[in-house]
Amino acid sequence: MDALIRFMDVVNRTTTRIAGYLATGLLFAMLGVVIVHVFYRYVLNDSFGWTEELSRTMMVWMAFLYFPTAHRYGMNVSLDIFIAAIQDHPIMRYFGLLIELAVFVMLCGAIWLGWGLMSRASSSFTLALQLPLGYVYAIMPVGFALVALVSFERLLRLVANIFYPGRYKVNVFGSSTAAGG
């Protein structure tokens, strides 16, 4: 168990870091594309036909690529005021495990559904760049798979914590201070 958790830890630390670099690069690229677009239109009175489509796609990819990081570090928003008082009660360990199990099963389903969507879309094309839509949708199975890996590791840690309470660090519940504002 220990060895498996350590292994998953290495895997996920590496994949989330690489995915995070890619996502950050995409934000750079999005900014570049839109700025160049405004410059061309306003200063040179000319436009590209594909900047909107490209930057939109990059934004969706960016979100999916940071999905595993958000889950790994428990940064997704949750409503935790109802459980705040009993957060340290032993029963919450089972609750946490249950939630993570549901999330993991859902993610596995999502990989499968995303894969189906990607395969079905392979004969369609985007309007502006005429890219095969399958490539665009590829981020779904990939993104869900990366989150599922993260979820699997959290699952292992949560199971281990039932037998050895407090042995593994894991943010059971999401954060209440991430999004919004």
């Binding site: 239109r41 009175n45 000319d46 436009s47 036909g49 594909w50 900047t51 909107e52 489509e53 189906g116 969507l117 079905r120 879309a121 004969s123 369609s124 094309f125 985007t126 309007l127 502006a128 005429q130 839509l133």
Partner: protein, 328 residues
């Protein structure tokens, strides 16, 4: 019983809604309620042509209507329908889009290119003709387009037309067009009078030039798996219902345009009818786009244009012979 989820991305004021209501009533009545139709208005189940086609493949959406631009997601060569000035009048347009040989051709192409997932039910129109509409500069001839920033969709043909006349095509998302016109991010738009009135663009625009550079053809699709699962009698009813929707949309358009033009004139705006001479000039910009299209889409494009232009020729002949028989 089979349920058909019918989706269109417009709203309840649009002609698709009238068509859908009639289709629902027709199909439910003729199949004795064995086939029921659920109408979903707007982006409740899917929000773009690409997404809706994927939902059809997943069996979630069973019927959907798209313009030629939207349909190019599954059958790219259909963009040839948007080659400027390809159709000369409403009458020819309707005959062409209801031409049986052309419909058969399109049905086959769409089944082929969608891996037999999506079937064309019927072709019709949504909103009439695209025209040049501007805020400050009246467009009398193609030369007037020079230097004007026109909002276009992200389609190469639309952009080439504007560029070929010396204007600057600017893709703006549909919901941002009003503000873009108001602030001057763009100086004009290429839309049908119905779309202009629906979105209240007449408040920001002053001139519309009836050059009719594109006819807004549209198509009703059904997911093939569901269609095949129907009994032959039910299939017939659905097909007849599709034909009915097509006719309804052709019929309602001129009536809706009356209100749209009234709104336009009420706003104190001008309507410019180009002279025949100016129309010649406008039309001269079509040929290079046609050539580009053939180069871009290769054999598929060639095949499409042959079928399309043959249908146009047949339709023009019908119109001519009808006129001749009455006027002899």
């Amino acid at each position: 019983a089979t349920e058909l989820n019918l989706v269109f991305l417009a709203n309840e004021d649009d002609q698709e809604y009238d068509a859908a209501l009639v289709f629902k009533n027709f199909v439910e009545a003729r199949t004795g309620g064995e086939v029921t139709v659920n109408i979903f208005v707007g982006a409740q189940l899917c929000g773009s042509a690409n997404e809706c086609f994927e939902s059809m493949r997943a069996g979630v959406v069973n019927m959907y209507t798209a313009t030629a631009g939207g349909a190019s997601a599954i059958y790219p060569a259909v963009q040839g329908m948007d080659i400027p000035y390809a159709l000369s009048s409403d009458r020819v347009a309707q005959l062409t889009l209801q031409d049986q040989e052309f419909t058969n051709f399109m049905r086959r192409q769409i089944l082929d290119s969608s891996n037999n997932d999506i079937m064309l039910l019927a072709m019709t129109q949504t909103g009439g003709w695209r025209n040049f509409a501007t805020r400050d500069k009246p467009i009398h001839t193609p030369d007037d387009v020079a230097g004007v920033r026109f909002r276009t969709i992200e389609s190469e043909i639309q952009q080439r037309l504007v560029r070929s006349m010396g204007g600057s095509p600017t893709p703006i998302p549909w919901l941002e067009v009003y503000t873009a016109l108001q602030t001057g991010v763009v100086d004009g738009t290429k839309n049908s009078i119905s779309d202009i009135a629906n979105m209240n663009f007449q408040e920001q625009l002053n001139y519309i030039t009836l050059d009719g550079h594109a006819y807004m053809a549209s198509m009703w699709f059904i997911d093939n798996a569901t269609f095949r699962s129907l009994t032959p009698e039910q299939q017939q009813v659905v097909l007849d219902g599709g034909a009915l929707m097509s006719t309804i949309q052709f019929g309602i358009q001129p009536r809706k345009e009356l209100d749209a033009y009234a709104k336009w004139l009420e706003a104190g705006n001008e309507i410019i009818a180009p002279t025949e001479e100016a129309m010649e000039q406008f039309r001269s910009h079509a040929e290079p786009i046609r050539e580009w299209y053939l180069e871009r889409f290769g054999d598929a494009g060639q095949e499409f244009l042959e079928a399309f232009e043959a249908a146009v020729a047949r339709s023009e002949e019908i119109v001519e012979s009808d006129r001749a028989s009455a006027m002899q």
